[in-house]
């Protein structure tokens, strides 16, 4: 088959990859998107096999068989919860493959400077993707400590490695023997660099790292594509490279952090990483929406902050949207919520919340552990578990609404400030608590907007 025809196949594959990636980004089409992309891969592979430069198929068949078995078995066996680490392994595998392809190109490709540079790049990027992915796997699978590993002079060591990589790459390009010592040095340093880049990042940030490594493995494929002058590698590789970076960025945003913070915070902030307990977990309206959307029972717990924000109208609107979405919605009113008896009643009645959705503390508490999401709107003292648990608390003994027993708790307030009684609230640090910071009216309005878009 002529190179032209093969490339026509590649164009088709590229189109399918593009559609596939696009469709993977939306829940309604994701499954089909994945299939399209798989078809694209099949087409690319099949037309490649028709290439005249392929003289023997034995090794190929052996390789494909082995790879298929390993991949399929791993994909089938893996626990749902262990998916991310499995993806990390696969990704590392792809990186290694790019490294090897680049290397092989040395043996059958030309040795123009252009090709040498691209070979060096595929080795570098492929290598660090591989080792970095292995470390990410180790952290996620808890084969190794998931804590950020930091040591003094870490920056210096990393800088040295980088210098070493550049130097060995240059030296290799200047004297491009297929068995050049610099080649091996480059391979070694690349692997080392991948390790060093990932160890200082905490386990909780691993998904972001994997996404980034995934982007790298795309770039590695792209580099390999240049090395062997292959269009589909360039197109698909750079597509993944770019899409991966955007996705990484989106994931960082969802965690309310910057990419730089994820990648480098480990260096500075050994303390925060160890203090896993007592961590405040902020959440964005977008993500809160996704959780609310799939909740079957939601209870709102309003407090004085709802009154201050005058959020009652939007709260009712959100309640209606949730009901329309099939959730059971209640408003749990603590008797002392607000600043006067019946404060919440005045507001909710004004907003036309039906009376039969209002429930008293004693009614809601026994069924709190069946509530999917408790949305605490500017309440603080009345949901403070210290009143239950901490004998030294000035509010010890006051019955509270046990939102901490709900599956998920959203706390909407503007800051970490305490409430009327001035005591700290351990709820905010709870395992299942997410803080949605900001003016309650604005936060709820954002949730409403999410529901409508």
């Amino acid at each position: 088959m002529s190179l032209e025809l093969i490339n026509v196949g590649y164009i088709v594959a590229a189109v399918l990859f593009i559609f596939g990636l696009k469709m993977l980004g939306s829940p309604a089409t994701a499954v089909r998107g994945n299939w399209l992309s798989a078809w694209a891969m099949l087409i690319a592979v099949v037309v490649t096999l028709l290439d005249k430069s392929i003289v023997s198929y034995e090794w190929i068949i052996v390789g494909v068989l082995i790879g298929t078995v390993i991949g399929a078995v791993a994909a089938q066996k893996v626990q749902m919860t262990a998916m991310p680490e499995m993806v990390a392994l696969f990704n590392g595998s792809g990186g290694l493959s790019s490294l090897l392809v680049g290397w092989a190109a040395l043996h059958d490709g030309g040795d123009s400077l252009f090709i040498l540079i691209t070979v060096a790049l595929s080795i570098l990027i492929g290598g660090m993707t591989f080792s970095g992915s292995l470390i990410a796997y180790g952290k996620l699978a808890e084969v190794m400590t998931s804590r950020a590993i930091v040591f003094s002079a870490q920056r210096l060591v990393n800088a040295l490695i980088l210098v070493g990589i550049v130097v060995s790459a240059v030296l290799f390009c200047m004297d491009p023997a297929t068995d050049s010592i610099w080649l091996y040095v480059l391979v070694g340093l690349s692997l080392l660099f991948g390790v060093m880049a990932v160890i200082p990042i905490g386990g909780a940030d691993m998904p972001v790292v994997i996404s980034l490594l995934n982007s790298y493995s795309g770039l590695a494929a792209c580099a390999a594509g240049f090395a062997i002058n292959n269009n589909i590698l360039i197109v698909a590789g750079s597509l993944v490279g770019a899409a991966g970076i955007i996705l990484t960025n989106i994931m960082c945003k969802a965690m309310n952090r910057s990419l730089a913070n994820v990648l480098f915070s480990g260096f500075g902030a050994v303390k925060t990483a160890t203090k896993v307990e007592g961590e405040v977990k902020p959440i964005t309206a977008e993500d809160a929406f996704l959780i609310l959307e799939s909740a079957a029972s939601v209870t709102f717990v309003p407090g004085y902050g709802m009154a201050v924000a005058q959020a009652q109208h939007v709260v009712r609107e959100l309640g209606e949207l949730l009901e329309a979405n099939g959730a059971e919605v209640t408003y749990a009113i603590h008797p002392v919520a607000g600043r006067m008896p019946g404060h919440m009643n005045v507001l909710l009645a004004e907003a036309n919340v039906p009376y039969d959705q209002l429930v008293e503390m004693d009614d809601i508490n026994p069924r709190m552990n069946n509530i999917d999401v408790a949305v605490v709107i500017g309440a603080n003292d009345v949901v403070n578990p210290a009143a239950r648990n901490d004998e030294n608390s000035p509010i010890y003994g006051m019955p509270i609404i046990n939102v901490d027993h709900a599956r998920t708790v959203f706390v909407l307030k503007r800051s970490m400030a305490s409430g009327f009684s001035g005591v700290d609230n351990p709820l905010f640090f709870g395992e299942n608590t997410r803080m949605l910071f900001g003016d309650a009216k604005q936060s709820i309005a954002n949730l409403v907007a999410e529901f409508k878009s």
């Binding site: 603590h334 008797p335 008896p341």
Partner: protein, 377 residues
Amino acid sequence: MQIGVLKETLTGELRAALTPQNAKKLQSKGIDIVIESGLGLASGYADADYTAVGATVGDRAAILAGSDVVMRVRKPSTEDIAALKSGAVHVSFLDPFNERSLVEAMAAKGVTAISMEMIPRTTRAQKMDALSSQANLVGYVMVIQAAYHSPKIFPMMMTPAGTIAPARVFVIGAGVAGLQAIATAKRLGARVEAFDTRPVVAEQVRSLGAKFVEIDLGDVGQTDQGYARELTAEQLEMQRQGQKKVIAQSDVVITTAQVFGRPAPRIVSRDMVEAMQPGSIVVDMAVESGGNVEGSVAGEIVDINGVKIIGITNLPSEVARNASDMYSSNLYNLVDEFWDGENKRLNLDPEDDIVKGCVITRDGQIVNPTIANHYAR
């Protein structure tokens, strides 16, 4: 032209037929306004407020004898009619269905009698519709009366000392007054239910956020004036049965059911009242026209087994200031609508829809066909 405005004589009637604001507007049309001294006192307007806008204070007899148009809230006495000048226009509530002798006296005297009850209920005439403007206030007043007398608060409150359930208010008859009663009770935080025989009202009740109690009475409908038709005895019984349970659960029952030109239907019977909790309140707006509630007494608060039946008669006077303002505006709008600026006189075109409806006597005749028919029967 001179308009004379008389002070009300009925005890407890605190309204005035004209306020200084409207007096001023009439004056500026070139109409002379003469008021009886003390006209607006009970609604918060001193004589000085009127003279400040150019009206003069006159003697009652002189006003009656000298005015081209006489305005007041309540129907005139026969003496007053006798004192009017022939050809004068007399504007007031008149209750023409029941006050045949008065109407005939006015016809005999050659007076043009305008009955404010008879302003047609068209979109165009709404600004003169005193029945509506007063009923609207009455709706509010009834709820305030109920809240005042109730030993329970209306809104729900979840407090450290327990939860207070919202009061349950049941409004029977959701015309103008009933709707405003619903709105007011809702505002105060009560759980409001309502019933009316006219099916179109259900949507209106819901448009105020209240619940409409569905009772199937078969075909009911309304007149083309938008008034309710009288129910058959059978339908009335169906209604009573349907309401019984709701009434027993209610803390407050407000009845406003009226059928234009007839005695009010008896909707709430004594056994229903007795089935209510002690401390409950019943407000009967129709007490003057016969009462919707068995046992209600005009002008009194009756206690039946701890349930208070409030039969206050002159409800608009409870908010006399606003009631006067509204009524006075209605009268002003009436004059304004028919004012012939060139000839400086009222031009009550007999072909006009509104004139046809509200003018009862004219040129010695009873010209209103509805009333004439009613008397003929």
